[in-house]
Every structure is written in structure tokens, then in C-alpha cells.
């Protein structure tokens, strides 16, 4: 017990903050981008929709290392886009915190997009028609009718996105690497200390991420339950 307390006292907590910051920023970006993309995809024709939806969902079903590979292909300093960004705009993605956000965002994006789309598609179309015949602008209809109706789905999508971004490992380790205090996230720290055979520290980090993730999922269920009372049991 004393040993655990000692470790907790001397532990480098930077991975916790890096993970939380990465998760938060990636979620904010995914939130707006996901909602916007969901609206665009909904307006597409059947075939275009199937195709675009497939591409947008890929990061969710592929191994994250595949996404990492493609991200490296784009942003590596030895590649045209990556070198352009670095030379012209001084933007460096590889081995930076920006890379953490990008990797986490790409992997978590499908969760936001798919949940938002499912929620929007379930909005009663007559409510939207009603808004239009009453003279409400499309913008007002979206913010005052569609979003409140789709609220629970959008919220659960956002929370899942945050949880996923928080724990991202594969793509992050490839794109951002594991630089302590800079890109070292919790999941990367766990992998690193396990390699050193330090099961106690690894266990502590596991406990921390378990608590956060479980808390998020429980919070989501409580929220969804209070919002959707008319759900039937069967």
C-alpha cells in the first residue's frame, strides 16, 4: 500500500493531461465536423451516400495502424504535403501534440458522424415540414427543431467520441510518437512501462483510464435515460 502511495506521489502525471487535452480538442473538432458531414451525407443520392459513408466509417473498422500509415503518408516531412506545411506554414504534425489530436480525431470521427446522422435521420420529418410551412428559416429549424430532437443521439455520439479519442493508441504512436511530456498519452505510457516490466505503474495507469472511461459511459447512460423516457422494454 505504502509502495502504491509512493508511486502516486512521484508519478509523472503529464500523460493524463496530454490525453485529456487531446481528447477534448479532438472532440470539439469532431463535434462540428461530424454534424456538418452528417448533414451533407444525408442530402446525397443513394449511391454517393453509400460510397462516402463507407470512406467516412473506415477509420472505425480498420486497425488504427492503417490510419496511422495513411496519416504518415500525408504528413511525413519527407512527403510533399508534410514538407509543404512545415516549410511554408511552419506546421509540424509528426512527433507533435498536433499529431496526437489529428490521430485521435481521425479515429474517433466516425463515432460522432454516425451517431449524429442516425439521430438526424430519426427526427420526425413532419416537424421539419411544419417549420418550413410556418416560415422558419432553415437555420432556425436546424438549431431550434432538429438539434433538440436529435439531442440525445448527438450527446451520446459526442461522449463516445471523447472516450475513443482519450484512449487512442495505434495511430497516435505512429504519427505523434511517445515523447514524454509532449506526445506521451496514457495508453502509450502503459505500453512503455509494461515493456520495462513495471506492472505496478502500468496497473495504476490502467486504473485511471478505467475510471475515466467507465465514468463517461455511465454518465452517458444516465443522461440518455433521462432524455428518452418513452423507451420500451422488450
Amino acid at each position: 500500500m505504502q509502495e502504491i502511495l509512493n508511486i502516486l506521489k512521484t508519478l509523472d502525471y503529464s500523460p493524463l493531461w496530454i490525453s485529456l487535452q487531446t481528447g477534448l480538442v479532438a472532440t470539439v473538432i469532431c463535434f462540428f465536423l461530424g454534424i456538418w458531414t452528417a448533414r451533407c451525407v444525408m442530402r446525397m443520392g443513394k449511391r454517393a451516400k453509400a460510397f462516402v459513408d463507407g470512406i467516412l466509417t473506415l477509420p472505425m473498422v480498420l486497425p488504427p495502424t492503417v490510419a496511422g500509415f495513411f496519416l504518415l503518408l500525408i504528413f511525413s516531412l519527407r512527403r510533399p504535403i508534410g514538407s509543404f506545411l512545415y516549410d511554408e506554414l511552419s506546421i509540424k504534425v509528426v512527433q507533435t501534440w498536433l499529431g496526437c489530436v489529428l490521430a485521435a480525431g481521425v479515429i474517433a470521427f466516425p463515432l460522432m458522424y454516425r451517431n449524429a446522422r442516425a439521430a438526424f435521420e430519426q427526427v420526425d420529418i413532419e416537424l421539419i415540414y411544419a417549420g418550413r410551412t410556418l416560415g422558419m428559416s432553415e437555420r432556425a429549424i436546424f438549431w431550434r427543431v432538429v438539434l433538440p430532437s436529435a439531442g440525445p443521439g448527438v450527446v451520446s455520439g459526442t461522449i463516445l467520441t471523447f472516450a475513443r479519442a482519450l484512449g487512442e493508441y495505434g495511430a497516435t504512436s505512429m504519427l505523434a510518437g511517445n515523447i514524454a511530456g509532449k506526445t506521451g498519452t496514457i495508453s502509450q505510457r502503459i505500453a512503455m512501462v509494461i515493456q520495462n516490466g513495471d506492472y505496478l505503474t502500468a496497473g495504476l495507469w490502467v486504473a485511471i483510464i478505467l475510471l475515466i472511461s467507465f465514468g463517461i459511459v455511465v454518465a452517458m447512460n444516465v443522461f440518455a435515460d433521462s432524455k428518452m423516457r418513452n423507451i420500451k422494454k422488450w
Partner: protein, 353 residues
């Protein structure tokens, strides 16, 4: 005040082809479920787009495929009353009505108008309630109020009473009728309930598998349906093929009967119809009397429904008689029934025929 609609909309499975000229007052659109009634209203409101044609309201072109005019629903000034009311569930009664005043920019005018409408529809005290805290009748009142708040030039009512319990239906029908009486523009009422159409409208357009039939007065529709489809849709239970013998007689093979009818010399008659409640038991030798076997007798709420098979006939006749009369006629017995000639309706297969 007039609304002229000439549109074609192709849908998977059928094509909606509507031609209609409605004047101020209530015009009913009568059609079976799936005949395209709601789709037609949606095209007029602008939330669905027809494939071709034109929609003109009081000389204002709302849609014209040739001139490439397609006003957005927000600019059409066409009110829509939805079957399930479509009140915004996250907004209070007050906010819902405010949504109907979206086009009113001036806050002060909006407040005055809003208060006037709330008083007119007896919604005082309900302003802060959410739709789910309202009764069916109150929801309908809010929906009506919200629709009329925007001062539409035409209003569309999509099966307005379908979502109400039957006891509420009567009350709301009276209220809606009163509201419509004070509405200066064109009102289109969609319904599959012939009673509702009869009570509420003065002219009617029958939609038959997506095609509109010429508009006629409601009286005329019920008293003298001209086609088989109209007869069926107005609730005629007995429609059978018939052969014309003279201007005053027809032969009905399936009933093995020669029937006298009111003089009529229109051509193309293929069927005759008679309403179930027009058939009465009678003495042998009466005009249009048929000897029938009672093959089934069942009680309805206030009448007795008899299924009759004419002697030598192949098709049954459905008759509705009072319980007092019906109770004397047992299943399996034979009795004479009269098909009064003034109630025999001569029908054509279609309008074009």
C-alpha cells in the same frame, strides 16, 4: 381567392396526376389510403417538389416547371395542419405559436398578434405547457392557432381528426368548422372519411389511385356518384356489373334481376350501385322486389346488417335495416326485398369512358 393545381409527380409504384381549381371555402380531397392525398398537399405546401406542372394561388405562381419557378415553403404563405399536429415537442405552447409568427419581424406586433391568437383559440393558461402535457383537443387547437398565426392565404388540412378519439372528434370537428367558416381563403381538407367530407366541405375532388377526378359539389357526389370508384369511395356497399336494357331498365346478371331505374340516357353505363341502407323488406309484387335468401345476419352498433343472396344470383347484396326489422329475419330464411328505383345509381367504369 382561388387555388389552381395542375401537377404530375412520379412516385415508386404510381404516378400522382392532379388537376384542381379550388375557390374560397372548404374543398375536400377524398381518396382511399395511399391514393396520394398527402403527397398532393405536400407539393402545394412546397415541402415536396412535383415533377412537372404548375401551382397558382391567387394569381401568385408558387410552382411552375416550365418557367422554373419553385418558391420555398417559407415564401408560399400556405398553412399546413398535420395529421399528428407536428407541434415542436421541445417548445412550449407559446413558443410553438411564436414559430408560426416567424415571418413577423417586429417584436411588438408579434406580441400583440400572439396574444390575440391565444385568446381566440382559448389557450390562456396553457402558454407554458409543453405539447406532451396537453390533451388531444388542446394539441389540435395549438396546431390550428400556430398555422393561422402566420396569416396564410390558403390552408391545407391533412386528415385533421384522424389522431383524435371519437368523442373528441365531434367537438373538434365543430371547432374546426367554425374556424374555417371565418377563413377567407382556400381550404383543402384531405380525408378518407366520407362523413367528415359530407359535413365539412361544399365541393370535393376524388383522388383515385393518384388521378384526380373532376371537381363536383359534395351534395352531387353523394347523391349521384357517376363512376364506380366514386360510388365505392362514398361508401356504397353494393356495386355490380349491369347491362343497360332501356333508358329506364337495367339487367344485373349477378343478381339475376331486371331493375327499373330513374330515366337516364347517358352512355357507357357498366355498373349499378345501391346503398345498403336504401334496401328495405317489402311485399311480393312491389317494383324492383327481389326474393332473397338471408345468408348471414349480424348486429352492427345501431342496425342489423343482412347478407342477401338473390334467387338464381351469384353475388350477395348487403342491406342495413333497423334492429326491429332485422330481428324478424333469421339466417336461412327467404324474404322479399325492394331496391327502390330512385336509389339505383347508374355508374361508369371511369370518367373518360
Amino acid at each position: 381567392m382561388s387555388l389552381s393545381v395542375n401537377i404530375i409527380k412520379r412516385l415508386p409504384g404510381f404516378t400522382l396526376k392532379v388537376s384542381l381549381n379550388a375557390e374560397a371555402g372548404v374543398t375536400a380531397l377524398l381518396g382511399a389510403s395511399g391514393s396520394g392525398k398527402s403527397m398532393m398537399l405536400r407539393c402545394i405546401a412546397g415541402v415536396e417538389k412535383p415533377d412537372e406542372g404548375s401551382i397558382v394561388l391567387d394569381g401568385r405562381v408558387l410552382y411552375d416547371s416550365k418557367a422554373k419557378i419553385d418558391l420555398p415553403p417559407q415564401a408560399r404563405k400556405v398553412g399546413y395542419l398535420f395529421q399528428r399536429f407536428a407541434l415542436f415537442p421541445n417548445m412550449t405552447v407559446l413558443q410553438n405559436i411564436d414559430a408560426g409568427l416567424s415571418l413577423e419581424r417586429d417584436a411588438h406586433t408579434r406580441k400583440t398578434k400572439r396574444e390575440g391568437f391565444i385568446a381566440r383559440f382559448h389557450l390562456q393558461g396553457l402558454e407554458d405547457r409543453l405539447p406532451r402535457e396537453l390533451s388531444g383537443g388542446q394539441m389540435q387547437r395549438v396546431a390550428l392557432c400556430r398555422m393561422l398565426a402566420g396569416e396564410p392565404e390558403a390552408i391545407l388540412l391533412d386528415e385533421p381528426f384522424a389522431a383524435l378519439d371519437s368523442h373528441l372528434r365531434w367537438q373538434m370537428e365543430a371547432e374546426v368548422k367554425e374556424t374555417l367558416a371565418g377563413f377567407p381563403g382556400v381550404a383543402l381538407l384531405v380525408s378518407h372519411d366520407r362523413g367528415e367530407v359530407y359535413r365539412m366541405s361544399k365541393s370535393v375532388c376524388v383522388l383515385n389511385a393518384g388521378k384526380s377526378e373532376p371537381m363536383i359539389t359534395t351534395r352531387e357526389l353523394f347523391d349521384q356518384p357517376r363512376t364506380l370508384q366514386t360510388a365505392l369511395i362514398t361508401g356504397c356497399k353494393n356495386c355490380v356489373p349491369a347491362e343497360r336494357l332501356t333508358t329506364e331498365t337495367v339487367y344485373v346478371p349477378q343478381w339475376n334481376a331486371k331493375l327499373a331505374c330513374a330515366p337516364d340516357d347517358s352512355s357507357g353505363i357498366t355498373h349499378v350501385g345501391i346503398r345498403a341502407h336504401d334496401i328495405v323488406p317489402c311485399e311480393p309484387g312491389t317494383e324492383n322486389a327481389i326474393l332473397c335468401r338471408v345468408v348471414d345476419a349480424a348486429d352492427d352498433v345501431f342496425s342489423r346488417v343482412l347478407t342477401l343472396l338473390p334467387t338464381g344470383g351469384t353475388a350477395t347484396i348487403r342491406a342495413e335495416v333497423s334492429k326491429a326489422v332485422g330481428n324478424t329475419l333469421q339466417t336461412g330464411s327467404d324474404a322479399w326485398f325492394c331496391l327502390p328505383k330512385e336509389h339505383i345509381m347508374l355508374l361508369r367504369e371511369t370518367h373518360e369512358g
